[in-house]
Amino acid sequence: MKKIILPLLGLLPLLTFAGGFQVNLQGNQQTGMGHLGTSFYLGASSAYFNPAMLGHGESKISVEAGANGITSYVIYQNQETGATAETDNPMGTPFHLYGSYRINDQITAGLAVYTPFGSSVVWGDDWDGKYLIQDISLSAIFIQPTFSIKASDKISVGLGLVYATGAFELNRAIAFQSSQSAYGQTNLKGNASGFGYNFGFHYKPTEKLNVGVTYRSGIKMALNGGDATFTAPKSTATNLPPTNKFDAELPLPGTTTIGLSYDVSEKLTVAIEYSRVAWDVYQSLDFDFETNTSALKDSKNARKYEASSIFRVGAQYKVNEKIIARAGAYYDQSPVQDEYFNPETPNTDNIGLTCGISYEISEKLSVDGSFLYIDGQERESYYTDPNNKSASAGGQNFGGKYKARSFIPGIGLRYNF
């Protein structure tokens, strides 16, 4: 069953909207309340949010599936020429599938399939920054077998092992002109994979207070033997072999999260979370070409990301036996420094506002709706290429003002056997 679904879904582009190219949309209930869920149980999706809590449900078997539709916009304005651009991104559709099976009172096993990283940015073929990026699509699917142990009524631990598989494609223009075409084109395309792990810890010091801690490891996505295709005037072919291969490595950052939740009453739960994302692993995006020439050296692109933080707050309220309403907000720092801001990942500091609702259709089946609005804060940033001195005023290579906005409705289903 998985084998059929995954390749199909894998083709769908995802979209940048969290720090870097992280996609934080792993459960529609959690998304509805600021995407937090480290310290409380909301079904099989705990396999992602905190594997320690996978066994905290009442049913022997739980499954959950959900998806989101991301509509996002990034706008750009050059402060010297006044030129503007706006992305024309395809709708991103990250998804998640979870299942858990309680083996005995202590041990629960689960499987999670989710898409925590991805990006799809389309600036267009002929915008000012085309020599840096025309479009990029990056998607990663994580497959995670999970085990959870309930050590006592107050303490649980969990472990997940992750296999990540992803696809990468990038287009950018190259400055070779002929009477037929104003610029050439580089296309880099390949598949990558890597392994990682995560673990979770849950502690319930009092009846009303819950504490959760998770650590998700970083993963080095290795891309080997990708296709590098160059479209350029024929007379440049000896310097720029039209077909070539390349290797690259894309590091995905580890994340440490601590969350607290408090049951104010039977009906109302409030929660806060703090995440630290180790984006500092992403220092450079390097393409190592199989065939190098005087015009085609290995491409080293400084990224110099910094570790970033996410602060979340959310609440859920049981309206009645069937309906739960949720709301939340978060602040997600951009890991990109102002001097190394590349429009390939046009990442702003983000404020996310969320709301959501769950409806219990039957005792076994529930539906979750969520809506996330992201306001990407305006920033003036430039890309500096340390390998080349730059000419624009201020000494930078390419940049200006950027601002972003996303709308993300989502829907999920849960079924308890």
Partner: protein, 474 residues
Amino acid sequence: MKNLKNLLYIIPLGLAVSCAPEFEDEITFTNGQADFTTYVAVGNSLTAGFQSSALRKVRQENSFPAILAAQFAEVGGGAFKQPLLADGVGIGSSLNAELKLAYTTDCKGKTSIGPVPSAAAGQADQFSPTTYIGANGPYNNVGVPGAKTYHLVASGYGNPANIAAGLANPFYARFANPANYDESVAAAVARTKPTFFTMWIGANDVLGYGLQGGEEGSDVITATATFNATYNMTLDSLLKSGAKGVLANIPNITSVPYFNVISRNGLELDANQAAQLNAAYAPYNSGIDAAVAGSLITPEQGNRRKISFTAGANRWVITDDKLNSIPGLPKSRQMRHNEHLIMVTPQDSLKCAGWGSSKGIPSNYVLTSDEVTKINTATNEFNNVIKTAASKHNLGFLDANKLMAEMESGLTYNGVTYSADFVTGGAFSLDGFHPSTRGYAIIANEFIDVINDKYGAKVRKIDPNSYEGILFPN
């Protein structure tokens, strides 16, 4: 159930209300203290828009003054009239057409791409009095290809009657004032009463010398006193109407591809060839030793004239007329680290006729270190004159010499790196010393930076990448 309905209303509402974000502030472009009503550009081929060995209409339309005038138009700039040629392949100083990049095959049968004339002949009719356009003047772009500083104040420099004698310039005669052909360029531009000007002159005062490999024929380096006097005469005539403006200095011409595209280290030999050449030069080296022994030359001079080769890259052998005469020996030596071969050195002679290996490259293709020193000294002295004038009259100053130095190591605009490398560097045209269209666009941006800084203006800059680059054959 009611809440669920509410949520369903909210989702489409959120999508409909506002989609793409907008920036908080709009950018406002202003002229500051500058008045661009009447902009006049004075200079040489660089101001005219000359490139790839010719002046051509489509290049004139992208001259840096034309680009500037288009940007000034947004902040109060008036009409900008250029002495455009008719459509065509362009015309150069030897009546040639513009160069283009095409496949060429060398004496060894190897095919590569290089500059070739785009047509058998240039638009010679544009130098015929019947096509003259002076009557439609005055023109705002007074860039005269080939003009030296003193030419701008010379009476009769645009008089067609003086062309045969070499006292007038056909590029100027075609648009000079027919009512008074003897009027100097300086006097002609004063009549236009500029409110703003750019003046970029002086490169030919050193360049002509270098272009011929430093041979001192008719094209000698201008005396600094002459440069100083005539530079300021032209400037004074521009300032008569109270204009503001920018002065640009002279780039270090030895950095342009024309003097660097053929490496001084370009003689590639294998071990066998090196041994054969060493054997062939053994009698020459013995002759040098004998001359040292006979005190005809000093031991130091002897060492600098001796010739040897190794497998790999070797310095070319050149003829240096300044060397002491030694009976029976040619005036040969190998090139030194700061010396340059000029781009027009015949490649086939280097590859197949033994130039630079079995015989010395003629000195008119070589800039020797002494000649480089003369060029550098003159450039520095002229640039002092320009800097002093800019300070004295409180004018904007574009350090084109510094820009040239930066270009050598590579300058990146919006992801494209431009350098002084021939063809692949993108900044220079196919003649190796005039900028390409994108090179001129970069220069226009540099002028805008100076204007914005000096006159508190915000003139809109341009994206050099959006102009035509070097066209590669398919």
